[in-house]
Structure formats: structure tokens, C-alpha cells
């Protein structure tokens, strides 16, 4: 982390609250982090951890009704929170773009894939029909779609899941965004295809000098492909730091629980996983103290009553939210 490098993305005390018929639902609470140019950060969490809502809030995709967003999101100097739709439209595509989990629903099924990329190019960049088509084919080639000239006229339904996700990535890259938000980009794809897509994202990140936020539930996806990592639980950041530090010197018991309960290929067969009891809390009815306390074997009275703040650990940039952190340098030997 050189101090002179710019922060492309600055998220400060960001909270997203939904008003539901059953009460206020704090999907994201007081999330702060920064991302530099050319950096890839990972966000991991289970379902209900708020990672997807966080991505959509950063993108500015939330509907205006029944939702309250507090804090600030600066992308390349543009304040997303409170921006109007026309302002956001100018900023989408060129500053930030997003790749969604389900490539089938993020593509229009009755529109040829080339046209879907064309449209963006012509509307946003004012390209002519010919040059837009040429650029679209170039983009399809860039994301590794074989015989892209012919595929330009294909409908999304004629492509496999992996190919569709490549098209989605090409659409996202159309206006050369500085920041790419990838929300579970490989969930639902086969392992060999997942590896192809992740490799592609890594290559594109380096080639196009993008910053990437990689959101996933799978620790395996972020382990080798991100430089920093955020662990979320019940809408809050519970641990943040360099990816290596998080894996090797995690302090938050939840991070350890996630690591311990992931099955590994390197384990001998019939390895018993260290499962933690319970499940993520109901966001409508969060405990007063630490949200993880009810499932945590180290929890004390303080954990149940007082919410732990993010506390710096010994490594630079590594913080955790826990009253009774694991001792430093306890790589869990149990797994």
C-alpha cells in the first residue's frame, strides 16, 4: 500500500436499511473500506451477510422506495449516495460496471448478444453502427469467445452458461470501467468453467488496469485471486485485511469457523469438519452485542451486550471486530 496511490473507491460508514412490513431490516451496517487502482478486493460472507446488497448500494442500483442509504460511496470522485438517476447513468459503464451472478437474467433473452453490447457503445460512447459492431466483436474476442464474428448474432439462449457469463463480462467492459463489481460471477458454473472465468477476470484486470471487487461465498475463489479480503457477517465487516493475513492470522472466530467448515481436497477422506452450530441471524431481530455471539464458543457477557468495534491487529491494514479475538498467529491446525 503505497501512500501516494489513489483511492478509486472509498466507502465510508455505509448503511443500507430496508423498510419491510415486519420492521426495519439493516442489510448493510456501517461498512467502510477503500480500494486502490489496480487492486482486487474480495468480499466473502454467507447468505444474508449483506454482500450483495453492499455491491448494489456501491453501484447505486437500489430502488428509491422503502430503502434508506446512509454514509458515502465515492467512486473516482463521484458520490453515489444521493445521486440522481441521470447522474448515475453517466457514471455507470465508464466509472463502474457490474457482473451479476445469473448470466441468463442479466442478458435480454430475445436480443442478439452483439446488439446488447452495441447498444451501450452507441448510446454511451456515440459510436457509429459500424465501429460499434467492430468494437463489440473485439470485446467478444477479448473475453475469449471463439469465432466471435459468428457469435455476434447469437441469442443468449444458444450459449452455454460459461459463454453467457463471458458475454456479460464483455457488456460490462464495453465502456472501459475503472471499477468492476463482480457479484458471485462463477456461482452455478462448473469447476473447469469457473477456473476459466476467474482466470479471464484476472487477466482483464491486469490488462485493462481495472480495480475489481470480487464478491463470493466461496473462500476458494478469493484465496488466490485477491490482495485484500473483507469478511462480512450479518451486514457488518467483521474482519478486513490482506488476504494472506486473514487466512493465516485471522483473529475473528467467525473467520476461523468459515475456514474450518470448508471441506478441502487436501484433507484425507472422511475428515470431520469443524462445524459451528446455528445459522446466520435474522436481520430483523439482531442481537444487541456481537451478531456472531450466539454461535461463538468464546462469547462472554460483553459479547452479548456490547457490539465490538473494528480493532487493528498487528499486521498493517488488518482489523477485526471481536472482544475476545483469537491469539495472534494461530493458523488453525485442526483442519
Amino acid at each position: 500500500m503505497s501512500p501516494d496511490s489513489r483511492h478509486l473507491l472509498e466507502v465510508d460508514q455505509l448503511s443500507t436499511t430496508f423498510a419491510t412490513p415486519h420492521g426495519l431490516l439493516p442489510a448493510v451496517s456501517e461498512v467502510s473500506f477503500t480500494l486502490q487502482e489496480d487492486e482486487t478486493i474480495g468480499i466473502v460472507g454467507e447468505s444474508g451477510s449483506g454482500k450483495t446488497v453492499l455491491a448494489r448500494t456501491i453501484m447505486g442500483l437500489q430502488p428509491m422506495t422503502n430503502i434508506q442509504v446512509e454514509g458515502s460511496v465515492l467512486i473516482n470522485g463521484f458520490q453515489v449516495v444521493g445521486a440522481s438517476d441521470p447522474e448515475k447513468r453517466k457514471h455507470w459503464g465508464t466509472d463502474v460496471a457490474m457482473v451479476f451472478q445469473d448470466p441468463m437474467t442479466s442478458l435480454n433473452p430475445v436480443m442478439r448478444i452483439g446488439k446488447q453490447i452495441d447498444e451501450t457503445l452507441r448510446v454511451r460512447l456515440g459510436m457509429s453502427r459500424q465501429s460499434a459492431k467492430a468494437r463489440a466483436i473485439e470485446l467478444l474476442t477479448l473475453v475469449g469467445i471463439p469465432s466471435s464474428t459468428e457469435r455476434y448474432d447469437a441469442f443468449p439462449g444458444e450459449l452455454s452458461g460459461g459463454m453467457r457469463q463471458r458475454v456479460v463480462i464483455a457488456t460490462a467492459l464495453a465502456c472501459s470501467p475503472k471499477l468492476l463489481l463482480a457479484d458471485e460471477p462463477t456461482t452455478g458454473l462448473d469447476v473447469t468453467i469457473q477456473a476459466q472465468i476467474l482466470n479471464l477476470l484476472g487477466e482483464l484486470q491486469q490488462r485493462l488496469h481495472m480495480s475489481v471487487v470480487l464478491i463470493t461465498h466461496d473462500l476458494g475463489v478469493v484465496a488466490t485471486r485477491t490482495s485484500r479480503l473483507i469478511v462480512m457477517y450479518a451486514g457488518r465487516v467483521v474482519e478486513i485485511g490482506e488476504t494472506r493475513d486473514i487466512f493465516a492470522h485471522h483473529r475473528m472466530p467467525y473467520t476461523r469457523a468459515l475456514l474450518d467448515s470448508s471441506p478441502r481436497i487436501s484433507n484425507p477422506s472422511h475428515t470431520r469438519l469443524l462445524a459451528i452450530p446455528g445459522r446466520p441471524p435474522n436481520l430483523l431481530n439482531l442481537p444487541n452485542g456481537c451478531s456472531f455471539a450466539p454461535r461463538c464458543s468464546f462469547a462472554t457477557d460483553q459479547c452479548h451486550n456490547e457490539r465490538p468495534p473494528l480493532t487493528p491487529s498487528s499486521e498493517p491494514g488488518h482489523s477485526f471486530a471481536c472482544w475476545n479475538p483469537l491469539p495472534i498467529s494461530t493458523r488453525s491446525e485442526m483442519s
Partner: protein
Amino acid sequence: MTDLLAVEPLEAKTPLGPLFWACVAWLSLNVLAAILANLLPLQDPLFQNYSALNAGPSLHHLLGTDDLGRDIFSRIVFGSRISILVGIGAMFIGFGIGAPLGMLTAYRRGKFDHIVTTMMYVLLAFPAIIAVIAVLSFWTPRSILKIIIVIGAASIPLVYRVVRAASLSVATRDFVTAAKVQGASSLRILLREILPNITPIMVSFLLIGIASVVTLEGALAFLGLSVNPPTPSWGNMINESRTVLAQNPWLVLFPSLALCLFLLSLNFIGDRLRTYFDVSEVKL
């Protein structure tokens, strides 16, 4: 091993609301009055009081009288018998045949489904109202039973289509396969697994179906194809009032109001019940 079963009140539904209960009360009142019409202290709906022709509402005739001096209130109550009987009777036939058939074809699929569904779609393509009018014009003398049978038969393809579509989305779920795998018989699967899941849709469609049949009966009466006068039905009354509309506006107003409120209540209840019992809408 303990599991923290933090079962939250996923069932915290929005209540049905006072309007819903008002509609239920109104409908019950209608049905009750229709059933007990003979026992209620009502005037004879056929008695012609020549001293009060086309009279407005008064204490003696609550809603006034018609051009023959018959009490409108009494005729509306007795008329509701025909309308409600036709509505319920026709839906009884429609659901009695259409619903089991729809469930069965959706569960069985294959050739049987293909044949029955094609047949039903052919029937659906033919405008039901014209068929009903045609049959009723020739099948004389008309009686309530015949009207019920004809309208009921015409509703079978509609009921079939709705029930089949609803059952199809249930029959492809894993719990139906799971029941099969556990050794449940087809009848058991139809009754235990599929039926409870399509009941809400069926109930709301049933209510809306009754409403449509009541309207249809009104339309038939208007064309003179329902029960023969002087037996009152809502449609009959509206039909008869046409000729004296200028002298006696009450005569068209009250039966129309009765019909209108009845239909509104039915539709509102049906719609409200559907959203209330829709499991998927409750989940966040």
C-alpha cells in the same frame, strides 16, 4: 448437537382487514336471506298490489314496488335464490369435473394429458357465451337445472385450465418426487401433496367463477333465456324494468345494486384470499 432454531414469525401476514370481513358479512347475509326467504316476514313476491303501482320506497314497501305493484325488496331476496343457486350449482359441476381432471392430467402428464388438454383447448376456443345461448334457446322448457347444467358444462374447460396450470407447478416440485419415492400411491400424492397447495388458487377462482356465473345468468335473463317470469331473478328484474325506466327508476336501481354489491364482495374476497394464502409472497 444443538441447532439454534431461531424460527422467526415468517407467518406475520398483513391481516385480512375490516373491508374483507364486511364483504364476508354481506355475502353471508345474502346467502342466509336466500335460504330462509320463505321463513322471513316478507311479502309474497308475486302478489300484485294494485293500490301501489310504481311506488317509491316507503315503510310498507321498503324498496318500493314495480309496475305490477309487487314488492321490490321481497323480489330481490327471492331473486337472489335463483342467482346464487345458479352460481353455486354451475361451479359445482365445473369444479366437480374440471378440477380432478386438471390435477390428474398435470400429475400424470404423457399422452392422456396431451389428449385431454388439446380437447379442452378446442372447447375454450369456442366462445362459451354463444354456446350457452344457443343450447338454452333450443333446450326448452327452461328450468333452473338445465341452466345450471349448461353453464356448468361451459365452465369445465376454464376450471380445467386453471387447475391444471396450478397443479403442474406443484407436481414438478421435489416434494412430490419425494412422496413417490417413499412409496405414496398416486391418489395419496394428489390429495395430500398437490391438493393443499392448489386449494388457495382454487378457492379464489371458485369465488370469481361464481361471480361470473351470476353475471352470466343476469345476461341470459336479460335476453329472456333464464327462468321464465314471473319467477324473479336479478337479471329478470333488471330486464323487466327496462320498459318502465322513466316512471320507476327504483326498479332498475335496486336489483342492479344488489347484483353489483354481491359481485364486488365475491371478487374482493377471492382476491384477498389469494394473496393471503400465497406462501411465496410472505417470504422476504
